[in-house]
């Protein structure tokens, strides 16, 4: 039925429209088959040196609590508590409470679509800046959040970005990634220890792009 309808339109149409129909079909097909890398939207692009330099804190932790709190003016904030912390930059106590603008307020919800999502029990490595003072407490919003996932085959924790793509190293000053669908993604993902070493190296020898805006 789909084929009949489409074919009929294309064959009966003038040449220009026939090309458009063909282009539309090809578009749909290619969208089904292609995977696209991407760059920052509605958010400034931050490369790896900038993530390190602009972060006030860099920590690894486990999400142990997610809740909502109204501030003094009645604006809701979503609070995400990280525990079992390993601090790579800055200071933090035994727990770190991250504050994200938005949440439920009575019978209405103030939702900010660009915010990262969290699940209790997950492990994250985060680059924190402006916690409680900005809409999102991460450098570059989702660019400053990485999943720490146990790879059972390698028996080690590996690093994925916010979209679940494997972080495999640094190239041209920025983090290199493999799409999560790639077969080699899990095998080539940096271990947590390797990623921590990259951060330590960047802290010790900052690159030029890590400066101010």
């Amino acid at each position: 039925m789909i084929a009949k309808a489409t074919d009929g339109r294309g064959l009966s149409a003038p040449g220009g429209l026939r090309f458009s129909v063909c282009a539309a079909v090809l578009t749909v097909v290619q969208l089904l088959l292609a995977a696209q890398p991407s760059h920052a939207m509605v958010v400034m692009k931050r490369d790896f040196p900038q993530l390190v330099a602009r972060a006030e804190q860099i920590v690894v932790g486990t999400v142990t609590e997610i809740g909502t709190q109204l501030d003094d003016s009645g604006v809701p904030w979503t609070l995400v508590t990280l525990s079992d912390l390993t601090v790579l930059k800055g200071d933090a106590g035994p727990n770190l409470v991250l504050r994200f603008y938005g949440g439920a307020a009575g019978d209405v919800v103030l939702h900010v679509p660009d915010m990262p999502n969290f699940t209790i029990g997950e492990r994250d490595l985060v680059f924190v800046a402006g916690n409680g003072k900005t809409v999102c407490p991460f450098v570059g919003v989702s660019q400053g959040r990485f999943h720490v996932r146990l790879d059972p085959e390698r028996g080690t924790e590996v690093i994925e970005d916010d979209q679940g793509n494997a972080v495999v190293g640094v190239a041209n000053g920025d983090l290199a990634r493999l799409p999560r669908q790639a077969q080699a993604a899990a095998r080539r993902a940096l271990s947590l220890d390797e990623f921590r070493q990259l951060i330590a190296d960047e802290l010790a020898h900052p690159h030029a792009t890590g400066g101010s805006r």
Partner: protein, 265 residues
């Protein structure tokens, strides 16, 4: 030749299995939130720069009108109306209590688009533009002010990104997708080409996945079934009933190889 190409394309299409990966904003019961009246009136307070913008438009407001038109032409049962407003009509969405539908969103039904130095006193951080989506416990969207960071560089242009200059047109196109009720497919386990992905790319026009998303939220006819298409976590995996409407919408928008050339090299 064209017949063979279409046949091959449809064969690949039918053998591809999963179709689209659009995602919607979900309420506590995991249903998609939406405008129950099937439309929203936006008031643009963006104004105009001193000269013409790089894409030839005379004002920021015109870009808001244009991208609303892009979404309207899809043919969904949803319609944007954009009014260009003057400063003395501005109702500050910042504040809480009576007169504010949600904290910092202003009165119900008022959906301003405006430049601001902060998000009601909270710093933008690295965000250049965002929308506050206020919805009720029943999943009805009540209002959606759009905040544009006036601390960063803006122009309006087509084609590849020219960082650090932000393209108002494609950013507004994305944000109006949130206003409609769409979320980011790439943050919901999907890997598709879409203006609604969380990351900016050289894509500057609506893509079939975006069109599928709005058609799913606001079906244009009984044959384009509604949000049950998005019942799977993160979005739809069964988009076949929407295929023809999506293709027709693509044709209406003139979606062609040009629109994708920057991505497909």
């Amino acid at each position: 030749m064209s017949r063979k190409l279409i046949g091959l394309s449809l064969f690949l299409l039918l053998s591809a299995g999963r179709a689209y990966g659009f995602a919607c904003i979900r309420d506590g019961s995991r249903d998609c939130v939406r405008w129950v009246q099937g439309g929203a009136t936006l008031r643009s307070f963006l104004g105009a720069p001193a000269g013409h913008l790089a894409n030839g438009t005379p004002s920021w407001d015109q870009n808001a009108i244009d991208v609303a038109g892009d979404w309207n032409r899809v043919g969904a049962a949803f319609h944007f109306t954009v009014n260009v407003a003057s400063g003395n009509q501005f109702v500050d969405p910042c504040g809480t209590g009576q007169g504010h539908t949600c904290p910092n969103t202003g009165p119900q039904g008022d959906n301003p688009i405006f430049f601001a130095p902060s998000q009601c006193g909270v710093g933008f951080g690295d965000i250049v533009e965002l929308v506050n989506v206020c919805y009720s416990s029943t999943g009805a969207i009540l209002n959606t002010p759009v905040f544009v960071n006036n601390n960063v560089l803006w122009n309006a242009y087509d084609g590849p990104l020219h960082s650090p200059v932000n393209d108002m047109r494609r950013v507004l196109l994305h944000e109006l997708g949130h206003v409609v009720g769409l979320a980011h497919p790439d943050q919901n386990g999907q890997n598709v080409v879409a203006i609604m992905n969380s990351h900016e790319s050289d894509i500057d026009r609506l893509q079939p996945d975006d069109i599928t998303g709005i058609l799913s939220l606001y079906p244009s006819s009984p044959s384009t079934t509604g949000c049950q298409l998005g019942a799977a976590p993160g979005g739809s995996t069964h988009g076949w009933p929407l295929l023809i409407p999506v293709m027709l919408a693509s044709l209406r928008l003139g979606l062609s190889a040009r629109a994708l050339s920057s991505d497909w090299g």
